[in-house]
Amino acid sequence: MAFWGRILKRALQPARPSSDAAALCSSYSTNAPPQLPRFDHLPKPYKGPSADAVLEKRKKFLGPSLFYFYEKPLNIVEGKMQYLFDESGRRYLDAFAGIVTVSCGHCHPEVLDAIIEQSKLLQHATTIYLHHAIGDFAEALTSKLPGDLKVVYFVNSGSEANELATLMARMYTGNLEMISLRNAYHGGSSGTIGLTALNTWKYSIPQGEIHHVMNPDPYRGPFGSDAKAYARDVQDHIDFGTSGKVAGFIAETIQGVGGAVELAPGYLKLVYDIVRKAGGVCIADEVQTGFGRTGGHYWGFETQGVIPDIVTMAKGIGNGLPLGAVVTTPEIASVMAQKIQFNTYGGNPVCSAGGHAVLRVIDKEKRQAHCADIGSHLISRLKELQQKYDIIGDVRGRGLMLGVELVTDRKEKTPAKAETLHLFEKLKDLGVLIGKGGYDGNVFRIKPPMCFSKDDADFLVDALDYSMSKL
């Protein structure tokens, strides 16, 4: 009995990583599939519509353009911390966090408390009246930012935040041209669709005075990690494509939708300089990288040693609440007083209370350090996996914002699109919900709720190992 008990216990525990990659080879190649780490939560019994019924209604009432993951899409009915549950009560490891959005964890009790308490008092009255929640939250948020970044505008999404940031840049500088990076994603509204630079997301409508510069992509870029060479392209665009003066530059520090691409080290410092000399302001899109996710720093831009003029945020800011924000300096904010700019829902008491709770949780639970910790463990295990499987072309990112790029040929870097899709499905079958991105859809995006544990990380890598071994 004890013998079987030990075997069972071993089987339930993910294999401990060793420095010897060869030792890993034996772990999940031929044995039984890895098991989810234990979790003490029983989902409520689900009595609602089935996956098929929901899918049918979606097709009928939500349009043909609404896409979804997986051949057989999952009916996700419940969430708890870093796990999701489907209609049958089956548990999954959420390695994508509703697209880098659920920062504290699904239904995090402290965040829920704040939201529910406020919902019972006052949900909405708008900022034409006073309410403490918005001021308190703005104060707490700005205390996390360096320099003179202390004026906050609350909006309802990343798109709205980037729209406002662009407006500010143009108003403040009096210039028109905006610069963004190829492979970036900044939103889907009229202005932001222009900043977004991936054709999948760009509809055929006029998109204004935007210049898309070479992506300082260490893996696929023509200059490798040579930041200077990429920065020269920005100067080039300014010199030859604009009047010589620009409104601003916007970039994610680690491109999200674009496939967890880290900007070549030193790039932002050089470019910020160039842009400011051309009269422009520098906007850091922290919609995905913000709030401690990158581990080493609270904000992604800090990893590049710069201080932007405007910072935009959304997604993780509210753990899933429809909330976004733009933070800038009083000087830049002052130009907004020329006209009236108003956001009806923005800064409502419930979202402000929720956002504030998120900040407290991240601090109290030391999520930033945790991301650094788990992130580096995850990266090292993924890099070991990279030594084992040729299909892993690149492993990159920081903290809990990671990417694994799959290629069929390491030299040519041919995107392994079909294989990625296949593994994507297999991972789901094993109980791992991962993200997908990149121009060719061949990058796994690993951006879980920031309460992701070491055991979760091991399980994820083991699941990857197992599925890849079966390819």
Partner: protein
């Protein structure tokens, strides 16, 4: 502060924000409470947003229940809440309007609507009505047509047509005459073909201006002949506020695209675009995605709102109490020279103050004074219009006759002391 009538801008900003500093900490039904526990009648509804009433138990419980289960996972996975709400919403729509897109605000909804119209028609030109408000992002700022809301940035592709304003417009209430301006703009300002036309059924920010009778059918017809789509911005007039479920219904038209926000979720950040399957198809050309849009909590709230509106017969209440309120406001007009015009439908009413009835000179300082006085008496109203001289009365739809009486009495009392 900028020029462009700097004083006017300062007044407007002051009037909106500085002089009206009350700390609102609690809300229940059609009442708000300040930090001292003082109760106010909320005749503005958080800008026509709180339709069921502050902290309506059905809506709150739907939100809480869903929050405790799952808040957010995106539409990449299935969840019944979004599907159920989309179905219920579509059932409120006439014709072939049955495909729903969820966003987080009115601005996002209008942005998407404008993009769809441009993609569907292959044309760029949009026509919107002067004095209209549609949002503040790049595209919607162009459609918005009041200088105070338009920053000095490029806003191409939009033409602003004459406002069919029965009170201040050049053609009085002759809707068809105004509609001719639409044809004029198309003939002389565009290639002859347009992407579409967007309008509110009753202008909200613009000061509760009802489009002159006969206007919308004529304008729609003109736009359709030019190959364009008709977009109805129901952000303020939707969800039973005007006594009809949708504002456009009272104009006897069926739009091609309908946008909504504000009342849709009783205050939760939610917006939507409803259109036909044919038009919706354009988005399949590329990918459009809204991370927060359609999340289980907001859609659960939206469904609860629809149920409350039906269960508590809020549409009927808006019509009955609204008509009563309008009549009482009209009696104020009979009594006080300062009241230039009373207009609107259901619980979307406006009262314009003028210092001279013939010249219709906006009573800008007087309105601020009355607004302050009313606040002191316990009534919170809204303000709008190009000159900031229109009271906007858009309370939660559970507003009662007694509330209406109190509002009018408070206003009457203030006016009598001037």
């Amino acid at each position: 502060m900028m020029n462009d009538g700097g004083n006017r801008i300062e007044n407007r900003v002051d009037g909106l924000f500085n002089k009206f500093c009350i700390n609102i900490v609690d809300g229940k039904k059609q009442y708000l409470f300040d930090e001292e526990g003082r109760r106010y009648l909320d005749a503005f509804g958080g800008i026509a947003t709180v339709c069921c009433g502050h902290c309506h138990p059905d809506v709150v419980s739907a939100v809480v229940k869903q929050m405790n289960r799952i808040q957010h996972s995106t539409v990449l996975y299935l969840n019944h809440a979004i599907a159920d709400f989309a179905e219920a919403l579509a059932s409120k729509m006439p014709g072939d309007l049955k495909v729903v897109f969820f966003t987080n605000s009115g601005t996002e909804a209008n942005e998407l609507a404008l993009m769809m119209a441009r993609l569907y028609t292959g044309c760029q030109d949009i026509i919107s009505i002067r004095n209209g408000y549609h949002g503040n992002a790049a595209g919607t700022m162009g459609a918005t047509a009041q200088s105070i809301w338009k920053f000095n940035v490029v806003q191409s592709g939009v033409h602003h047509t004459l406002n069919p304003d029965p009170y201040r417009g050049v053609f009085g209430s002759d809707g068809e005459k105004y509609a001719k301006d639409v044809q004029d703009l198309i003939n002389f300002g565009t290639s002859g073909h347009v992407a579409g036309f967007i309008s509110e059924a009753i202008q909200g920010v613009g000061g509760i201006i009802e489009l002159a009778p006969g206007y919308l059918p004529a304008a729609y017809s003109t736009i359709k002949k030019a190959g364009g789509l008709c977009i109805a911005d129901e952000v303020q007039s939707g969800f039973a506020r005007t006594g009809s479920f949708w504002g456009f219904e009272s104009h006897g038209v069926v739009p091609d695209i309908v946008t909504m926000a504000k009342g849709i979720g009783n205050g939760i950040p939610l917006g939507a675009v409803v259109t036909t399957p044919e038009i919706a198809e354009v988005l399949t050309r590329r990918s459009y995605f809204n991370t927060f849009g359609g999340n289980p909590v907001c859609t659960a709230a939206g469904l609860a709102v629809l149920n409350v509106i039906e269960k508590e017969k809020l549409q009927e209440n808006a019509h009955v109490v609204g008509s009563y309120l309008k009549e009482r406001l009209l009696s104020l007009k009979d009594k006080y020279e300062l009241v230039g015009d009373v207009r609107g439908r259901g619980l979307m009413l406006g009262l314009e103050l003028v210092t001279d009835r013939k010249l219709k000179t906006p009573a800008k300082t007087e309105i601020v004074h009355v607004m302050e006085q009313m606040k002191d008496m316990g009534v919170l109203v809204g303000k709008g219009g190009y000159y900031g001289n229109v009271f906007r009365i858009t309370p939660p739809l559970c507003f009662t006759k007694e509330d209406a009486d109190f509002l009018v009495d408070a206003m009457g009392y203030t006016l009598s002391k001037m």
